[in-house]
């Protein structure tokens, strides 16, 4: 038996023994997830136990080094773990911007003390992080951000406002892009800082979306304090970290496109039925659904191909922009068709499956994480090498 096969057998056995049955049922939404943090209230004993057991093995962050609370697994072992968890439908023990965003940034750009301080707490779900990037006047043009970070000798003083900070009202700390030099060219005066939100100078306000309640907040900094050792990387070099995380985020969002969702055709048949010829009752919708399903297949094949090409070193880096662009536009199309096939029921605001709210929420897909227009600009410049005016 190869090492990997041994690892698989051991992992399977461990999961079988340690994953509580309640944690093997599909989540019904983000509300079922475990986000951790200082103020977290576990929704069940099973949720708590599952997090603790996984965190103890470092498997909330399987590929992180063991010294920072990770599992120290190789890429191959991590894939085995994912596969085995999937096989028993085990839930993710911890959802976290710390895991998805800050962790990779700290591993790449943080100093040893920062890694030692923050990564284990992320891995164990002790600290919940929010992301502070966008500002009211810095959307697609993120680098024009104006949140001011002043050097006060022994600490930094932060003043300004962030928007679209997900779950900021429940977060403990925030990693944020701030302006440390107002005279430099806009990309060269930005720094990346970590700010404890448990202070009077940081307040949040939830944002209601057209689809209803949302995890998004506005976050205000009024003379907020940031210790100097909480500057990540070099001062005024934060844009490098931002770019790294933006690409990272784009890959995550593009990848969530239309993956494991139930095929639209099946939904439409269930909702509208077939005619005598065995065809969907709405012949116009049938055409649109078929086209969208074909595009969905082609998109999934593209995600596969881009991943495999990247593995074999043939990839085009900027293809994450293509995936983000196409995936989000396709998802919007998909939900327009879902609304079409849901008919009148789908137009009710509080019906069971809530398709209307999901439909409205998809409209942000092509805005958040870099608008479709920004992705097209990136494809145009970085892949097609078209010139700038």
């Amino acid at each position: 038996m190869s090492d990997l096969e041994t690892f698989r057998a051991e992992t399977r056995a461990w999961l079988e023994e340690n994953c509580p049955p309640e944690m093997r049922k599909p989540m019904t939404g983000e509300g079922d997830a475990c986000w951790g943090g200082r103020n977290w209230t576990f929704q069940s004993e099973a949720q708590k136990v599952w997090l603790e057991r996984m965190a103890a093995k470092g498997w909330t962050v399987p590929e992180w080094p063991v010294e920072y609370g990770g599992g120290g697994l190789s890429k191959e072992e991590a894939k085995v773990l994912r596969d085995e968890m999937k096989a028993i439908k085990a839930r993710s023990p911890l959802m976290s911007f710390g895991i998805w965003m800050l962790g990779p940034a700290l591993l790449k750009f943080g100093n040893e003390e920062q890694k030692k301080e923050h990564l284990p707490k992320i891995a164990r779900g002790e600290i919940r992080w929010a992301q502070g990037y966008s500002e009211p006047n810095a959307g697609s043009d993120l680098a024009s951000l104006m949140t001011k970070c002043e050097d006060q000798d022994d600490h930094y003083l932060i003043n300004g406002q962030k928007v679209w900070t997900s779950y900021a009202d429940e977060a403990d700390w925030i990693f944020a892009l701030v302006r440390t030099d107002f005279d430099a060219p806009k990309h060269e005066g930005i720094s990346f800082v970590l700010v404890d939100m448990d202070q009077p100078g940081v307040t949040t306000k939830p944002i209601k979306l057209i689809s209803g309640k949302s995890p998004f907040c506005e976050t205000f900094f009024d003379d907020a304090r940031c210790e100097k050792y909480n500057l990540v990387g070099e001062k005024n070099k934060g844009w490098t970290i931002a770019k790294y995380l933006l690409t990272h985020e784009r890959e995550m969002i593009g990848g969530t496109g239309t993956g494991a969702m139930r095929p639209m055709g099946d939904i439409a048949v269930q909702q509208l039925g077939l005619n005598d010829a065995g065809q969907l009752c709405d012949p116009v919708l049938r055409t649109d659904v078929a086209r969208a399903e074909i595009d969905g297949l082609a998109f999934m094949a593209t995600m596969e191909r881009v991943t495999d090409e990247a593995k074999s070193g043939q990839g085009v880096g900027a293809n994450s922009s293509m995936l983000k662009y196409y995936g989000t536009e396709l998802n919007k199309r998909r939900f327009e068709l879902m609304m079409d096939s849901s008919g009148h029921d789908g137009l009710e605001w509080d019906q069971e499956n809530d398709v209307a709210r999901h439909w409205l929420r998809t409209k942000a897909n092509s805005i958040e994480g870099g608008t479709s227009e920004v992705q097209l600009n990136i494809i145009s410049k970085r892949i097609l090498n078209l010139p700038t005016a």
Partner: protein, 379 residues
């Protein structure tokens, strides 16, 4: 007929625009939603509309109306589409008035038309039963009973149903479940015994209801038009409503474009006003073109309803299909071009995408009318 508004219609348009901007802007709909208004519309605004003659726009002079026709009704609907004014204008002043004027007995006209014209009565059409619009698919039964009929069945997606004084209900008096023959129309007072009306909470925060008819006893004079032959009148009433909805969507689409173009002129990114980006310029220009096409076919359709109402079906379906897809494109582009702020509930543009979705679906969605158009064209 020249494809321009008459002077009279142009004046009506200006008056409507001014009144609605002052008295019933989007903030009125927002307030009705946020206060969970039981009525779902503003009765003072409705009263003012009646005083301006809007409720009598399709009512014959003999019955107290001003009888200005569908083009005029469309002008009002279009302006309401700009402000998303919630009112039973289409269900009552357009569809109710059309139903009674064209198909009512003298007694029915005498009873209802003056009240409609005066803004004293609200009517609603209860036609749909299933997930999608299918007016020939009628399972609601009307069985002969004594001197009249007994109705049993369920209706859904009844616009303005829960505020209506009288429902126009399609029910089957003969034939199979999906046959056009055997459908009859009934005037059902909302307070008739056995009628249960429940308001549904809709995406657009406008009025819509589910109606249950449980052994509702009606006299023979409750029939609108002829027994068993209600399908053609039903289609005529629906077509009046569909054209009105198309006009409404035209106004919404224009408003979306105009607000978006203004935003493009103001919003700066990368040191430039984003309206200078050719990518957005071309999309805005394309949208403008689509809206111009939509406006044209809507006007043509309204004119056809005035001149040759019995030959309007194909134009109505073309207009509803075209304007439905154009208005949805306009609302989608508006949100995308506004970016994040367009996604917030605080900003008004989201109300447009919601209303346009519902208006596009009401009485047959874009796909329904594209298919119907093809069927009418015999392919």
């Amino acid at each position: 007929m020249a494809m321009v508004l008459s002077e009279e219609a142009g004046m009506l348009k200006d008056a409507a625009k001014g009144f609605l901007a002052d008295s019933a802007p989007v903030s009125q709909l927002r307030k009705l939603r946020d206060t969970e208004s039981a009525d779902g519309f503003d009765r003072d605004t409705w009263k003012a509309m009646a005083e301006m003659g809007w409720t009598s726009v399709l009512v014959p002079e003999a019955h107290g109306g001003v009888e200005m026709g569908h083009v005029a009704a469309g002008v009002i609907a279009e302006e309401m589409g700009r402000t998303l004014t919630a009112s039973p204008f289409l269900s009552t002043a357009v569809m109710g008035a059309t139903a009674l004027t064209r198909f009512g007995s003298e007694a029915q006209k005498g009873e209802w038309l003056p009240r409609i014209a005066g803004g004293k009565a609200i009517t609603a059409l209860a036609v749909d039963e299933g997930r999608k619009h299918a007016p020939a698919h009628v399972e609601t039964r009307a069985e002969r009973s004594g001197n009249g009929f007994k109705l049993n069945g369920k209706k859904s997606f009844v616009a303005d149903g829960h505020i209506a004084d009288m429902l126009i209900v399609s029910a089957r008096t003969a034939g199979g479940d999906a046959e056009e023959d055997g459908v009859s129309l009934f005037l059902v007072p909302q307070d008739a015994a056995g009628v249960t009306i429940e308001r549904a909470s809709m995406v657009d925060s406008r009025n819509s209801a589910r109606v249950i008819l449980d052994n509702v006893e009606l006299n023979a004079d409750a029939v609108l038009g002829d027994v068993d032959n209600g399908y053609k009148p039903l289609e005529a009433v629906l077509d009046a409503g569909r054209a009105g909805l198309s006009a409404e969507m035209s106004g919404s689409a224009q408003e979306c474009l105009e607000q978006t173009v203004e935003y493009l002129k103001e919003r700066k990114q990368f040191g430039e006003v984003i309206g200078t980006y050719q990518g957005l310029q071309h999309r805005a220009a394309h949208l403008y073109s689509e809206i111009e096409l939509g406006k044209s076919i809507v006007l043509k359709t309204l004119q056809t309803l005035d001149l040759a109402p019995d030959h309007a079906a194909m134009m109505v379906s073309a207009a509803k299909s075209k304007m439905g897809s154009v208005a949805q494109l306009a609302a989608q582009e508006a949100i995308q071009m506004h970016g994040g702020i367009g996604m917030t509930d605080e900003y008004d543009i989201g109300f447009f995408i919601k209303r346009v979705r519902v208006a596009a679906a009401l009485f047959g969605d874009t796909n329904y009318h594209t298919d119907k158009f093809a069927r009418l064209r015999k392919y």
